[in-house]
C-alpha cells in the first residue's frame, strides 16, 4: 500500500512507518556512511584472518600474523632488562661502600632492591622489612650479626645456621632442656635479664643470684654487661628490643628450649649483583651502621 510520504509540518518525506499516528521522518544518511559500514566488515574479516580471533575446542585460531600478547610482554621485559643493564653493570663495578655515595646509582639500587626484597626476603621479613616474632626487624639499629654493609652482605650471601659451611653459626642453647640450669634457677636468671633492660621484673626474685647465674652461663656469649656479641649472633639484652619477646614467660621459654632461627643461603639463588643490591637496600632501611 502506498502510504502518504510527506510530513505536513516539516515537509520532509516519511519512511511510511506509522505508530499511533506518529510517523517516522526519513532523513537519509549520506551514502558514504554505508561505505564505511562495508569497509568495517572488510576490516573485520581481515582482522579475523590476521589476528587471534575464534575460540576452538581446546585452543583458538592464531591468525596469520602470529601475534600473541604474551610475546609482547617478553619484548617489553627484554627492553626493560636492556634499559637497566647499563646501571646494573655500573652497580656491579662499583665497590659496595661507594654505591650510596652516587645519588643516581643509589636511586636505581633502591628501586631494584625493593623489588628483589619483595620477591625473596619479604616472606619472612615482611614487605617493609619490619619482621615479626623470630624474624628480625631490619629497620631498627639492633643487629644480631652486625649492620655494616660488609656484615649484611656476608649474612645474605651465606645465611644463618644452614647447611652451608660458611653460614653464620651460634645457637642459644637449651639450658633447661639439657639440664644445665635447674627449674628454679631459670625464673631467677630470666628476671635478671628483664632487669637488664631497665624494667622491674614481676614478683620477688633474688636478682643478685640471677646476676651470678648470668655471669656463669650467659655472659660467655651475651657479654658481662649483656650487650651481646655480633660475632656469635648473641643479641643485646639491654635495649628492650627482643626477637622472640621480652616478657618473663617468653624469656624463661627461650632459656629452657633455646633458639636457633635459620636464614637460607642466597648464593646460587641470587647472582652476586642482586645480593649487592639487596645489601644496600637493607642497609638503607634505616638501621645500617
Amino acid at each position: 500500500m502506498a502510504v502518504e510520504k510527506l510530513d505536513s509540518v516539516t515537509g520532509t518525506a516519511t519512511t511510511g512507518h506509522e505508530w499511533d499516528g506518529i510517523r517516522e521522518l526519513n532523513t537519509p544518511l549520506p551514502r558514504w556512511w554505508l561505505w564505511l559500514f562495508y569497509m568495517c566488515i572488510v576490516w573485520g574479516i581481515g582482522y579475523v584472518i590476521a589476528y587471534p580471533a575464534w575460540p576452538m575446542v581446546s585452543s583458538y585460531t592464531k591468525g596469520v600474523l602470529g601475534y600473541a600478547s604474551r610475546d609482547q610482554i617478553e619484548v617489553d621485559l627484554a627492553a626493560l632488562r636492556n634499559q637497566r643493564s647499563g646501571l646494573v653493570s655500573q652497580i656491579e663495578a662499583t665497590p659496595l661502600a661507594d654505591i650510596e655515595k652516587n645519588p643516581q646509582l643509589l636511586t636505581a639500587t633502591l628501586q631494584i632492591g625493593k623489588q628483589a626484597f619483595g620477591t625473596n626476603c619479604s616472606p619472612c621479613h615482611g614487605t617493609g622489612g619490619a619482621g615479626s616474632v623470630g624474624f628480625p626487624n631490619l629497620n631498627d639499629d639492633q643487629w644480631l650479626w652486625g649492620g655494616t654493609l660488609d656484615q649484611i652482605q656476608q649474612t645474605i650471601t651465606h645465611g644463618i645456621r644452614n647447611e652451608s659451611p660458611d653460614s653464620r653459626q651460634g645457637n642459644m642453647l637449651a639450658f633447661g632442656k639439657d639440664g644445665t640450669l635447674s627449674k628454679t634457677d631459670i625464673p631467677i636468671v630470666a628476671a635478671y635479664v628483664v632487669s637488664l633492660s631497665g624494667r622491674k621484673p614481676e614478683g620477688a626474685h633474688d636478682l643478685a643470684k640471677g646476676k651470678q647465674i648470668f655471669a656463669e652461663n650467659c655472659a660467655v656469649c651475651h657479654g658481662d654487661d649483656g650487650k651481646g656479641n655480633p660475632e656469635l649472633g648473641a643479641p643485646n639484652l639491654t635495649s628492650g628490643l627482643y626477637l622472640y619477646g621480652g616478657d618473663q614467660k617468653t624469656i624463661e621459654e627461650t632459656i629452657t628450649n633455646g633458639r636457633g632461627g635459620v636464614m637460607p643461603v642466597w648464593t646460587g639463588r641470587l647472582d652476586p649483583t642482586t645480593i649487592k643490591i639487596l645489601t644496600v637496600y637493607v642497609h638503607s632501611l634505616g638501621g645500617g651502621k
Binding site: 526519513n26 544518511l29 617493609g128 626487624n137 638503607s284 634505616g286 638501621g287
Partner: protein, 492 residues
Amino acid sequence: MSTAESAEPKAVSPASVDDAPLYEARKDIFPQAVRGRFRTIKWTILIVTLGIYYFLPFVRWDRGVHAPDQAVLIDLPGRRFYFFFIELWPQELYYVTGLLVLAALALFLTNAVAGRMWCGYLCPQTVWTDLFYAVERLVEGDRREQMRKAASGEWNLERVAEKILKHSLWLMIAWWTGGAWVLYFADAPTLVYDLLTFNGPFVAYVWIGILTVTTYSLAGFMREQVCLYMCPWPRIQAALTDEHALNVTYRYDRGEPRMSAKKADAARARAEPAGDCVDCFQCVNVCPTGVDIRDGSQLGCIQCGLCIDACDNVMAKIGRPSGLIGYDTDENVKRRIAREEPVVRIIRPRTVLYAGLIVGVGALMTATLATRTTLGVSALHDRNPVFVKLADGGVRNAYTVRLTNKALEARPFRLEVLGLPDATLDVVGEPHRAEQSAVLEVESDQTRELRVLVTNPRALDNPSTPVRFRLTDITTGVTAQTGDFFKGPGSN
C-alpha cells in the same frame, strides 16, 4: 488512518515507500570565488593561523644551556612542555585543562554574541577546506568552468594535467601540515634535517603520513560533510543559541517578494510590494556548504559570511542598499515587519556570565602561574613499618622525600623537619648524618628522591605528631613545605 495523513503535502513526494531513499548521494559543490569584507577577513585569518602553525616550531627562545631553545616544544621523552617563558611539568597538566575550559567558554561567548564565529573563520576544517578550494579554483577554474568540465565528462590531456596538478598541490599542503605537526615534538631544525636525510625517527614519518592522509581527505574530499555529519559542535551550538545571538541572516523583510530587478522597479513604480532579492542565486553559488541562506538559519550554514559579500556585490550592481544578508537576528526581522525598532543586545545575562567566567578562570590561571615556585618538596611516609623503636629508646620514622628543582640551574637546598625540636635527620647516602638539617643539591630541571630517616631521641606521648618538611633555597631563601606525621608507640 490518522487525520494528519490527509493533510496537504507541501512538495512532490516519492511515488511509494519503496523508492524513499535511505541513503543520500553527495551533492557536488563548486563554490564560486567572491570578493568582499568577509572574504578579506577570512584570507587574513587563514594566512595568520596557518602561518603560525607552519612556522612557530622554528621560533627560538633562549633558556640557557640546560633546556631546549625552541619557543614551543612538547618534549615527550623529557616530559616537559615549553611555551616561550613558561615551562610545564607533567603534574601541571591542569593548566591545559584550564586552557580547554577557557576555550569552551570562549566558544560559548562568541556563540552568544555572533553565532558560529569559530566554524566560519577559525575551525581548522574550515581553514584548510578554504585553502583547498582556492587551490582547486586556481587550477581548474572558477565555479562555472568546473561545472562545465564536470558535466562534459571529457578527459583530454589538459584536464588530466589539471587533476594531477591539483592533487599534487593538495598533497604538498597536506604533507607540510603533517610535517609541521611533528616539529612541535622535537628540535625543529634538527628534525627537518634528519627527516630530509631519511634519518628521522620512524614515528615521525608515521605521524607525517597519518596527518597527510587526514588533511588530504578531510579538506580535499570530506569538506562540508564533516560539518554536516561528523562534527558535534553544530548540534551543541543550536542548543546554546538564543533569540538575541547575531547570526548570518537573510533579511526577508527586505528581500521578499523576490523578483527580477526590472520587475521590482516596475512594482515599486506602481507602489506595490517588491523585495530586494533578485533571486540571482549568488549567495548559494559562493556557499562552501551549498546551502541557501534564504531558507533561514540552518545546521548546514557554518556562518562564514561569504554570502553576505556575494549579496552586497549584487546589491551594489543593482543600486540597492547593501546588507540584504547580514549579521542579524530573526527577532529583528520580525520586529521590522511589525514596524518596530530592531534591538541588538550584546550584553545579556549569558554573555555577562560567560565573560565573567572567562575573566575569572583566566585570572586564576595567571595568578597560579605567576606565583608558582621553582622548588617543591613532597613526602611519603613508610607504610611498613610505620615506626621503628631503637635500642637507645628512640623512635625513628622513614619517609620517601622528593625534592623538585624547576630552575634551569643546579641548586643547593636545605631540608629540615619542623614540629619535633629534638629530632635529627638522616638522608641515606649523604655523608653528614644525624643532624638538624641536611643540605642537598638538586640538578637543574630535575627531581631527586631521597630516603629520609627522622629520629626522635625518645618516644612521644602522642602516637601521631604532625610534622612539616621545609625546603629552603639556600641562595634566595625561598621555601616550600609539605606536611606529614611522625608516628610512635604512644604513651600506653
